[in-house]
């Protein structure tokens, strides 16, 4: 969950709430996923407001938009390094940024700076828990 700045949250495993857009990530294969998104629409407001949310979601999230396509190319570049290497030479993706300044909050949450990879680590920690039953 991102609190500092416009709110973003990932609800494990594949629901993403980004400002006023809702996205679902659907894994297809180890090398492919589909990212579906739509705009939040509010009851009881002027349609001009909802139309603005639709336009913002369109501009940010779609395949011709200004945010997700750049992310998608970055993900493709990372992915291209993965399956083509033998497992022994694949190395690691380092997600340690900010690990030294992570602190535990009152509700058991981990907190760090907005640019740290606390959320990424949280995702994979939960993934391991679900897939193996390990809690470490």
């Amino acid at each position: 969950m991102l609190w500092d700045g416009p709110p973003h949250a990932l609800v494990f495993p594949n629901l993403f709430l980004g400002e006023m857009s809702v996205a679902i990530i659907e894994p297809v294969s180890p090398a492919e996923m589909v990212h579906r998104h739509t705009a939040v629409q509010l009851d009881g407001v002027d349609d001009a407001f909802n139309a603005r949310l639709r336009r913002q979601s369109e501009a940010a999230m779609g395949p011709a938009g200004f945010i997700v396509p750049d992310d998608a190319v970055t993900a493709e570049r990372i992915q291209s390094a993965m399956p083509t290497q033998p497992a022994s030479e694949r190395g690691w993706i380092d997600m340690s940024r900010g690990v030294e300044r992570e602190v535990s909050g009152e509700a058991g949450q981990r907190q760090a700076l907005v640019s740290d990879e606390t959320t990424n680590r949280g995702f994979w920690r939960q993934y391991r828990r679900v897939m193996t039953g390990e809690t470490a």
């Binding site: 779609g62 011709a64 998608a72």
Partner: protein, 169 residues
């Protein structure tokens, strides 16, 4: 202007517009559009009001200007480098026209055509992507020259998940 000459003029415009888009020549492409240009790529058939749903592209002139400004920065990962592209345009038909035999400013032509665009996704995967679809142009005569007042693109694959579409369709 004879109907034959008019069709030739329209074809020449479509071919120029296509070539500038293929070569990501943003300034020259943008010079072809009118001040009220609407650029629309719906996520399904082009029916109803674009503002009522979510489209892949739904640019008024101001939003199109933002898109072009972004592309020109050369800092968009999604088009760094730009995709090499070539498109074929066929089945050109003048669907509708307000022209009355003489050519005058304000004349409009609604023109339908089919296309197949070949795009090399050179930014990461190096896949050759094939984009088939239909375009409906609204062309308007401004200062004696044809300009593009609307470009509506209905992709054959519109209802399917899409890879990056950050180039000029």
């Amino acid at each position: 202007m004879s109907a034959e000459d008019q069709l030739r003029e329209i074809e020449a415009f479509l071919f120029l517009e296509a070539r500038l888009a293929d070569e990501s020549r943003y300034d020259e492409w943008e010079a072809l559009v009118t001040d009220d240009m609407h650029y629309w790529v719906p996520a399904g058939p082009a029916v109803g009001q674009p503002s009522d749903s979510l489209s892949y592209v739904n640019d008024n002139r101001a939003r199109l200007a933002t898109r072009m400004r972004q592309l020109r920065t050369g800092k968009r990962h999604a088009q760094t480098p730009v995709s090499p592209m070539r498109r074929l345009i066929t089945n050109i038909e003048v669907l509708d026209s307000t022209a009355t035999g003489t050519t005058s400013d304000g004349d409009e032509y609604r023109v339908g055509s089919n296309f197949v665009l070949y795009e090399l996704a050179a930014q990461a995967t190096h896949q050759l992507r094939i984009w088939p679809g239909r375009t409906t142009h609204t062309l308007r005569r401004v200062d004696g020259e044809l300009r593009m007042a609307a470009k509506v693109i209905e992709l054959v694959t519109a209802t399917e998940p899409q890879p990056n579409m950050t180039f000029l369709l």
